[in-house]
Amino acid sequence: MATENKTAELTEIEQFRKDHGLSIKEERPLTTLNLGPTHPATHGIFQNILQMDGEVIVDAVPTIGYIHRAFEKIAERRPFYQITPLTDRMNYCSSPINNMGYHMTVEKLLGITVPKRAQYIRVIMMELARISDHLICNSILGVDSGAFTGFLYVMQEREHIYDIYEEVCGARLTTNMGRIGGMERDLSPKALHLIDEFLKRFPKVWAEFEKMLTRNRIFIDRTVGVGAISAERALSYGFTGPNLRATGVDYDVRVMNPYSSYDDFEFEIPVGSKGDTYDRYLVRNEEVWQSLKIIEQAYKNLPEGSYHADAPHYYLPPKQKVYTSMEALIYHFKIVMGEIEAPVGEVYHSVEGGNGELGFYLISDGGRTPYRLHFRRPCFIYYQSYTELIKGGQLADAILTLSSLNVIAGELDA
C-alpha cells in the first residue's frame, strides 16, 4: 500500500525516468527542441516540439496544417471532371493511384462498368506508382541512416517510371492520368516497349539496392526495434497499408475488396512481425517485387478491346468526332463546361494507395459538383501515432521512424 502511494506521487516525468532506468531525482532540466517545420532531416513540413532529456525524447507535441490547401472545400466547387488534379497533389509520390481511385469512385456513383483492357492498364499504372512510392520511401530511409548511394541509384530508376507516365499521359509527376470511364488514350507501342524494358532492367537494380541495405550491419543496428508498434495499437490508430502489414496484420484492400480486376492476378501480401522500422522497410521492399509480378502478369495478358467505357455523357468524345458529329460536340461542350449532372447517391470506394487504404466518400445531391467529398487520407490517420512511437527513443531514431512511416505532407494536411 505504501509503495502504491509513493508511485502515485510521482509526476509524469519522474515516472518516465523510472520506467527508462533513469534516476528519479535527477536535477537536470529538460531541453525543448523545435524540430521543424523546415528541419532538413524531416522530409516535408512537420513540426514537433520535443522535450528532451539529453538524447532521450520525453514528450513530443506535433503541429500539422502547414500545407493545408482545403481540398475538400475546393472539391465542393468543382465539376466531377475537374477534381482529378486535386487528387494528384495529395500523395504526389504515387499520383496515378489517387487519380484512378477517384475515377473508380465516380464510376461507382454513375454505374459505369469499365472494360477489361482499361482495368488492366490501370493496374499496370497503379503498380508502377506503388513502386515509385516505395522507391522514394526506402531510399530516403537509407539517406537518413547515412547511405546516400542507394538514393542516387533508385532516383535513376524513378526517371524511367516517369518516362512511362510521360508516354501514357504527357506529365511526369502530377499526372491527371485516365478519365472517368477509363483511360484517356490507349497504351502506345512505345509505352508498351518502355514497360517491357523496365520489367527487364528494374529487377537487377532493385536486387542491387536490397543487397546494399538489407543485410547491412549499420542499417540493421539503426533500424531493428526502432519505432515499433504493436498490432493492437496500430489497429486502434487506424493504420493501413505497409505500416499495418509490418505489424503482422495482412489487411490489403487489393485482396479484401478487389477493384479493377485485382482478383485476376497472383500475388502475395508480405507481412512483418514486430512493426518496427526494419520490418516496414522489408515489407515495402517485398511489395515492390510483388508489384513487379503484377505488372508482368497484366502486361502479358493485356486483353484486347476498348480502353474506355461507352459512356458518352461522361467520357470526352474523340476530337475528330467533335468536329464532325453534332452529338459529340454537345457532349464535349457539356463535359468541358462542367454541366454534367450526376445522379443522387452516396458512395465509398477505397483503393490500396502507396501508404494504405485511400478512401473517397462522395455524396452527390444530383448537382454538377459533389455535395461533399471526403478523403480518407492514410497519412493523416496514422501520423498521430508518431508521438507514441518516438517517446523514450533517441532523436536520431525519431528521424528514421518518420521516414519509415512515409508520411507525405500533401496527404497529411490535404
Binding site: I64, G65, I74, V347, D413
Partner: protein
C-alpha cells in the same frame, strides 16, 4: 457467422431498440443507419466489443453540413469496418446547428483524436471529453469554420482577380 445487412441490423435493433435506430438504407452496399447522440458512443462500443460482430476498425469519420435542414443541419458520419468479416457499416448522427455537441470516441479508438479535431476545425463540432479539442489544420486565430456551406472558398484578401474573368 456471415454478416449481412439484415442480421447486423437485427442485432443492433434488439440491443438498442427501434426508437434509437432510424431509417436504415443501403446506398452503395454499405448499410447506413441514423442514430442519436445518446446512443452513438454505446453503439460503437457495442460493435467493437461484440464477439460475433467484431466491427473494430474506425475507417474514417467526417462532418457534413446541410444548411436549412433545421434539426438535421449538422451531420457526423462514422464508417466502421470489420476486418475479420470484411463488413463495413456507416453510422450517422444529425444535430441542429445550435447544438453541435457529441460524445468523443477517443476512449474507444486512438485514431478518433485527430479526426474529431478535424471535424471541429472544419465544422465546429464539439466533442465532449476530448483531451485536446483545438484546431488542427487551420491557424489558431481563425474565427469561423471554413467547411460550412455559407463561407466562400476563395481567399477574400485577393485584389488581382477580376470577377468577370473568373465567372463569379
Amino acid at each position: 457467422m456471415e454478416l449481412t445487412n439484415e442480421n447486423v441490423l437485427g442485432k443492433i435493433i434488439s440491443e438498442f431498440g427501434e426508437e434509437n435506430i432510424q431509417d436504415p438504407y443501403n446506398p452503395d452496399g454499405i448499410m447506413t443507419i441514423t442514430t442519436n447522440r445518446e446512443t452513438i458512443h454505446d453503439l460503437i462500443k457495442y460493435l467493437r466489443d461484440d464477439k460475433e460482430l467484431q466491427i473494430s476498425f474506425l475507417t474514417t469519420m467526417c462532418g457534413i453540413h446541410y444548411p436549412g435542414q433545421g434539426d438535421k443541419e449538422m451531420c457526423v458520419m462514422y464508417q466502421l469496418h470489420s476486418l475479420r468479416h470484411n463488413y463495413r457499416i456507416r453510422l450517422k448522427v444529425y444535430r441542429p446547428a445550435s447544438d453541435p455537441v457529441l460524445p468523443t470516441m477517443t476512449d474507444l479508438y486512438a485514431t478518433a483524436n485527430w479526426m474529431e479535431r478535424e471535424a471541429f476545425d472544419f465544422y465546429g463540432f464539439i466533442f465532449t471529453g476530448h483531451p485536446n479539442l483545438t484546431r488542427i489544420l487551420n491557424i489558431e486565430e481563425m474565427e469561423y469554420h471554413p467547411m460550412l456551406k455559407q463561407y466562400p472558398l476563395e481567399d477574400q484578401t485577393r485584389e488581382d482577380k477580376i470577377n468577370t474573368f473568373f465567372g463569379r
